[in-house]
């Protein structure tokens, strides 16, 4: 979304000149999203929040040099990813002594948490489940596009993979979702009327 990018470039420029309100606004726009993104790596709410807060502290402290950042949004996500990797590298050795942290799968937003266009709650639940069951990387790519409105190229540079991979993964994710949706519609009584109208489609459903 170009207007979204324009917004963050503008905010970065304001922050560079020391505008605290702009910083607050940037925080409001991205804190939650970045914490969610960090949780994908840390699997722990606490350290995800710490990492994100630290990034914001750093942004303010290095504000005079923000203009050197070409793609602010991509920068935010890559910073979080790197911080998570650093943390997990530091963590690896000591997990033996400390009791394991409970794994919170809170990357999944609660269903009532979203801007709701979905009338069919059951379908939404099924699709949420299908997304949750995707392989980790595919799920992450899908969510970066869906929740953050990223383009394939942006996802590629955040995750350090090729655009082609991103597009393939997206296609596979969409395919799974389409399958879940068709399976659901196949059993849904409301869809039965529609199904009779297009009998040729039925055989396709069942394949």
């Amino acid at each position: 979304m170009p207007e979204k990018n324009k917004k963050i470039v503008l905010l970065f420029r304001e922050i560079q000149s020391g505008n605290k309100t702009a910083f607050d606004e940037l925080f409001g726009l991205y804190y939650d999203r970045l914490v969610c993104f960090a949780k994908h790596y840390t699997r722990q709410a606490e350290s995800a929040e710490d990492i994100t807060s630290e990034l914001f502290v750093r942004i303010w402290l290095m504000r005079t040099r923000l203009s050197a950042i070409m793609q602010p949004e991509v920068y935010l996500y890559i910073s979080i990813k790197n911080a998570c990797f650093n943390l997990s590298r530091a963590n690896r050795k000591r997990t033996a002594v400390l009791s394991p942290q409970p794994v919170e799968d809170s990357f999944d937003p609660p269903a009532n948490d979203r801007a709701n266009h979905m009338e069919d709650k059951e379908l939404q639940r099924i699709l949420d489940l299908a997304v949750g069951a995707l392989p980790a990387q595919r799920r992450l790519i899908f969510r970066l596009v869906k929740e953050e409105g990223f383009k394939s190229a942006e996802v590629a540079s955040v995750l350090g993979i090729s655009i082609r991979t991103v597009e393939n993964q997206l296609y596979k994710a969409i395919k799974v979702l389409a399958e879940s949706a068709t399976a659901y519609l196949g059993y849904n009584p409301q869809a039965r009327v529609a199904r009779k109208q297009v009998p040729s489609g039925l055989s396709f459903f069942l394949i």
Binding site: C36, E49, W60, K93, A115, E147, L170, I174, L177, G201
Partner: protein, 341 residues
């Protein structure tokens, strides 16, 4: 258009990379094919729905607080990215090592009076004698006390305040609470935390106070003289030395291996000799922070001998199983031991 092609276009439309030509043929497919049309009308609202972004006032305030602290204290070492890192990091490390060498040699003086005045306000007390003690405070915070160490803390811990004073060495695993910060008074410093794990050693006047942080973040302030505050990050260790209003903080990054040694004593050796399983279970519960239920009365009276140092609870149970026919199940933090039928 076959289904694969349709889904490819849908996925391109979703990621916003679809071009005008493809979009036209996609729209035609949606309009012309009943199945595709239905699928699109069901899936698209889902793909377009975003999560609500929650306003996070508290976190924003905390970030500003951290910024203020970093700016005021010139504690900018870790935030300062203005120089090429390689040379700088080397110099920084050298100066840190120098500081540690210097400080660890220094003998310091602690405000005993401070501790004593605290004792009146903090009625609850846990002391460790010849062995380490693990205890869980009312709010769920876990504390491992090293030998000959004492903590005092306020009653109704966690209701309105969480204050602990420490003499000796202890490892804290603090339960997260944004509302009620936990404060540890050790020697001449106060350590304020929200939810973290860290090790504090504060042996009276024989050594400087040392704080090693495992995870989360803590704020360390001096109680006397200059009210210097330092924010510690995971894998950092702070050494506070000096008395009589003089305060010197030095912060160093720790390698995880070193950190392990720092808190190694919490995983202290558990030696048992011909001990009944019912008694052993109590000690294991303490050591591993689990609840152990023994289903068989007969089994409770069986005696075991052994030494446990760094083994996991799983390994311990496995070892018990080898030496006596029993079964166990682990469910979260509940361990159920039963005799083999």
């Amino acid at each position: 258009m076959n289904k694969e092609k349709f889904l490819r276009l849908l996925s391109e439309k979703f990621s916003g990379t679809i071009n005008a030509d493809k979009l036209r043929s996609f729209d035609r497919a949606v309009a012309g094919n009943g199945e595709y049309g239905r699928l699109y009308s069901r899936l698209w609202p889902y793909l377009g729905s975003r999560r609500h972004v929650q306003p996070r006032k508290a976190q924003l305030d905390r970030v500003w607080e951290q910024i203020e602290m970093a700016e005021k204290q010139e504690f900018s070492g870790k935030y300062d990215y203005s120089q090429p890192r390689s040379l700088r990091a080397g110099l920084l490390m050298l100066s840190k090592i120098a500081a540690i060498l210097f400080l660890s040699g220094a003998v310091c003086f602690f405000g005993y009076t401070y501790l004593h005045s605290n004792a009146a306000r903090l009625p609850e007390r846990v002391a460790a004698g010849n062995e380490t003690v693990a205890c869980t405070l009312d709010d769920g915070t876990r504390v491992w006390l090293n030998r000959n160490s004492v903590i005092r803390f306020n009653d109704a811990f966690g209701k309105n305040r969480r204050e602990i004073s420490l003499e000796g060495e202890a490892y804290f695993d603090v339960v997260h609470s944004q509302r009620i910060p936990l404060v540890v008074h050790a020697g001449s410093i106060d350590i304020e935390v929200k939810g973290t794990a860290f090790n504090v050693s504060s042996y009276g006047n024989s050594a400087p106070v040392q704080v090693a942080l495992i995870r989360g973040s803590v704020k360390v302030t001096h109680t006397k003289g200059v009210r210097a505050a330092v924010l510690l990050k995971p894998n950092e260790k702070l050494v506070a030395s000096g008395g009589r209003g003089q305060s010197v903080f030095s912060v160093s990054a720790l390698k995880p291996e070193v950190l392990l040694r720092e808190i190694g004593w919490t995983a202290d050796t558990l030696v048992f000799h011909k001990e009944k399983l019912r008694d052993l279970a109590v000690r294991l519960e303490k050591k591993y922070g689990v609840e152990i239920q023994i289903r068989s009365e007969e089994l409770k009276e069986k005696r075991f001998s052994g030494t446990i140092t760094t083994e996991t609870i799983q390994q311990v149970l496995e070892a018990l199983k080898v030496s006596y026919p029993l079964t166990y199940t682990v469910r979260n933090r509940l361990v159920i031991i039963d005799a083999l039928q």
